[in-house]
């Protein structure tokens, strides 16, 4: 009897301690992610969840250097058409399936051939692959592709359990099985995504939480209120206008990193009939519009100075930025002179479409006022995003205020927008010289050689301006003061290795 009681007490005590130690880390997200299948998903916010769920072949450092992750090393053959990767030997997927070269092969096949894969364009250059031994894989490329390694630092490089995706097919995203620090527990759409620590993770000692819960809270004010009330430990994408309030709060801390993406104005220069207007036809008018904008003031007014003004596809903080073309000062007189040279001395009127959210609308209103002083009257067409995108893609627009979330490799931020027939070249801009430069930049794996090509491409872009770049968003994370070890990355991801909370 007494032994029974003691045992019960001991069991209760053990339960009590384990409950006390179970640590849940709560992260507030700006949106609810889409399907949790790295091959099918398309949202930025989904990638934040993957950072805890699905490890990749390679990763990046905060300085954008590519470092080993599931792959321990890689080697190109002399002409850059063959990539050999060696893999870690101590990795298992969350369902116990061993990670090896066969698994990598199955993953490449899925990214390339799954009917609804959104990764096809990222791995298109891989023509065939061969399992050399259990932990070595060799990929053959049709032509050299320097961007491939960087693709493996994102969704294309996320390794999913072949056992799981063969069983689930398209429905893999309902219960994803990967090889990351946490395994999937449950998801209630628009409410929460819960992951629990994976004990057999190869870097398990760096993970300090038993579970991590992602809570989508779209309203920035409410998201911050939740952090202040202690219902969240950290949140992503703090509104720039809330920065000063968080800085003044002793219980909170801030982390930031300039993103790889940009916001700008995409101009229709050759996409159907609506390109037939002064802005679409004359690069002088586009240059004038760019010169009429005070980018620093824009940043002050709309983002309280928290973002980074820009004029190129790469941010001034990026190693790929062309320093010969610094962010221009506003020059209304020069803008007027350019307009006069283009034959519009009396000014002109253009229409620009913008997504109907308060921030982007404010950006365009500020630009509207600035351009007005240079003689460019802007009429704003506010549209809901899905409509804006459809019109832009169909060429039913003059200019469009839109952005890009950014990629690790410079190619991802310029090639598809500026090359003839590029997948998202909605400007339908075409310049053979630009095509040559951007295609050549893909061929070399030598950063110095590539930098030369991109510098030359940026010089042409500054002259032709099919896109007028405005600013680069800065990722701003707000964290409870009790959280330590968080490191800000320019890709906006939340990596929980080494993060702790007490």
């Amino acid at each position: 009897m007494r032994i029974g009681r003691t045992l019960t007490a001991a069991a209760l005590l053990a339960l009590g301690t384990s409950l006390a130690q179970a640590q849940d880390f709560k992260i507030g997200l700006q949106e609810d992610p889409d399907v949790l299948d790295p091959d099918q998903s398309r949202t930025f916010v989904g990638r934040i969840v993957y950072a805890s769920l699905c490890d990749k072949l390679v990763d990046i450092t905060p300085d954008l250097e590519i470092i080993p992750a599931l792959a321990t090393g890689w080697e190109w053959n002399a002409d850059g058409t063959e990539l050999t990767m060696t893999l870690r030997e101590d990795v298992v997927f969350h369902d116990g399936t061993p990670f090896n070269a066969e698994a990598v092969a199955a993953n490449i096949d899925r990214s390339k051939n799954l009917e609804t894969s959104r990764r096809k364009s990222e791995v298109r250059s891989i023509e065939s692959w061969e399992v050399v031994d259990e932990f070595t894989i060799k990929m053959a490329l049709a032509a050299p592709d320097a961007t491939l390694i960087a693709q493996f630092a994102d969704r294309s490089g996320m390794m999913l359990s072949p056992t799981a995706f063969e069983a689930a097919g398209d429905d893999f995203g309902l219960a994803p099985v990967c090889a990351g620090p946490f395994r999937f527990v449950e998801r209630i759409q628009q409410d929460r995504i819960v992951l629990e620590k994976f004990a057999e993770y190869y870097r398990a000692d760096e993970i300090n939480f038993d579970t991590v819960t992602f809570l989508p809270i779209p309203d920035t004010t409410v998201r911050l209120a939740n952090l202040r009330a202690g219902d969240l430990h950290m949140l992503e994408r703090l509104a720039a206008t809330d920065v000063s309030s968080v800085e003044g709060d002793d219980g909170l801390q801030l982390e930031r990193a300039t993103s790889l993406g940009y916001q700008g104005m995409t101009i229709n220069v050759g996409n159907g009939e609506r390109a037939q207007n002064p802005l679409g036809q004359s690069n002088l008018v586009r240059q004038a519009l760019s010169l009429s904008i005070d980018r620093a003031a824009l940043n002050q007014v709309v983002f309280e100075g928290a973002f980074a003004p820009g004029n190129q596809p790469f941010s001034p903080a990026s190693p790929w930025y062309n320093a010969e073309f610094p962010v221009p000062e506003r020059d209304v007189e020069a803008a007027k002179a350019l307009l006069a040279e283009a034959g519009h001395a009396d000014g002109l009127t253009i229409e620009i479409q913008v997504a109907n959210n308060p921030v982007q609308t404010q950006v365009m209103q500020v630009i509207q006022a600035m351009a007005g002083e240079a003689g460019i009257t802007i009429e704003l067409a506010a549209k809901e995003f899905a409509t804006l995108l459809a019109d832009q893609s169909a060429g039913d627009y003059t200019a469009s205020q839109i952005g890009w979330s950014g990629r690790v490799d410079p190619d991802g931020n310029i090639h598809q927008f500026m090359t003839t027939g590029g997948g998202i070249n909605d400007s339908k801009y075409s310049n053979p010289e630009m095509d040559t430069l951007l295609n050549e930049a893909r061929l070399s794996t030598d950063p110095a050689v590539r930098k030369e090509s991109y510098d030359a491409a940026v010089a042409i872009q500054q002259e032709d301006m099919p896109v007028i770049y405005l600013y680069h968003p800065v990722w701003i994370w707000a964290l409870d003061d009790s959280v330590s070890g968080f490191q800000a990355y320019p890709d906006g991801m939340i990596r929980l290795h080494g993060v702790s909370q007490n």
Partner: protein, 314 residues
């Protein structure tokens, strides 16, 4: 009563079909292309073509509708374009949440609105009447989103009494579930309480002047009995009508309230679905809401018959 219910259900069927055709066509009229949104930032033409094929978006509209309706009849409302989750499963997940919110809001609205209406009718022209009117009017005019954010800042951030947002299923932790729903239900309830109060007041005013109330008073009944048993019971018939109509308003109000308090209900689901052009989800939700609304109206008709025996034989 049974015959009446059967008749009403039969009439409801064509209504539901009409609603579904209407919503289906309306969605297709919306500008914007779901596949462009779904294809991701890169908008790979190969992916776009595959998605169009998969979701049968290349078929003519009537064919798309017939395919959808055929599946719906077999209980398959399709899958969400955004998350691949079956729509029926999503609805099953979200419906109880919004119903809980709506019921709690309705209870709060009735607890405030009906007594306030009775009191202000009974004390017509006095300061009590004015005060009740003033409160009712502020309930109506204060926007939901503002009241919601203010409440979060006061009750959760400053006082720390209730969680700022989120949701706990009733089945998992009833107490916590009610705690998380209290603020949103209050925000939603106050807006409705005002309407309820005004209607109760005017119904009570006219009933209080009727002959049978005078008779009841002449019989020497206690004022409380006169008010509650004789006057209120009759005054409630129009109030029930209004409450039913308010159910629609509750669902609409829930859209905004759920956004503010991040409650994973119908409202949030439908807003996200519309923005993402997630056709199957929008279609499924509207169908369910339509059915729920018709069902509520049938219930209201039945309630009249319970409250007022004179209506029973019609």
């Amino acid at each position: 009563m049974l015959g009446f219910l059967a008749r009403r259900v039969l009439i409801a069927i064509p209504t539901i079909i009409l609603i579904s055709i209407f919503v289906f066509s309306l969605q297709k009229l919306l500008p914007g292309d779901p596949v462009l949104v779904m294809a991701g930032e890169e908008r790979d033409p190969e992916v776009i073509a595959a998605l169009r094929e998969k979701y049968r978006l290349n078929d003519p509209l009537p064919m798309q509708y017939i395919a959808w309706a055929g599946n719906a009849l077999q209980g398959d409302l399709g899958i969400s374009l955004r998350t691949n989750q079956p729509v029926l499963e999503l609805i099953g997940e979200k419906l109880p949440v919004t119903i809980q919110l709506a019921v709690m809001a309705l209870i709060i609205a009735m607890l405030i609105g009906i007594p306030a209406g009775v009191l202000s009718a009974y004390k017509k022209g006095t300061w009590i009447d004015w005060l009740a009117n003033l409160i009712a009017l502020s309930g109506l005019s204060v926007p939901n989103f503002w009241l919601g954010i203010m409440l979060i800042l006061l009750v959760s951030v400053k006082l720390g009494w209730l969680p700022a947002s989120g949701y706990q299923p009733l089945s998992e932790d009833p107490l916590q579930s009610i705690r998380t729903m209290l603020m949103p239900a209050f925000v939603l309830g106050t807006a409705i309480a005002a309407t309820l109060m005004r209607h109760t007041r005017s119904a009570m005013l006219s009933v209080l002047q009727s002959d049978y109330v005078r008779t009841a008073r002449a019989k020497g009944l206690r004022e409380r009995t006169v008010l509650v048993k004789h006057a209120l019971r009759n005054a409630l018939v129009p109030v029930v009508t209004v409450t039913t109509l308010l159910f629609g308003e509750l669902l609409a109000g829930a859209v905004l309230t759920e956004q503010i308090f991040t409650i994973p209900g119908f409202g949030k689901l439908v807003v996200d679905a519309v923005f993402n052009r997630d056709y199957a989800v929008v279609q499924g939700i509207v169908l369910c809401t339509g059915i729920a609304f018709i069902f509520m109206n049938i219930l209201a008709d039945a309630a009249y018959r319970v409250l007022n025996p004179r209506m029973r034989d019609t």
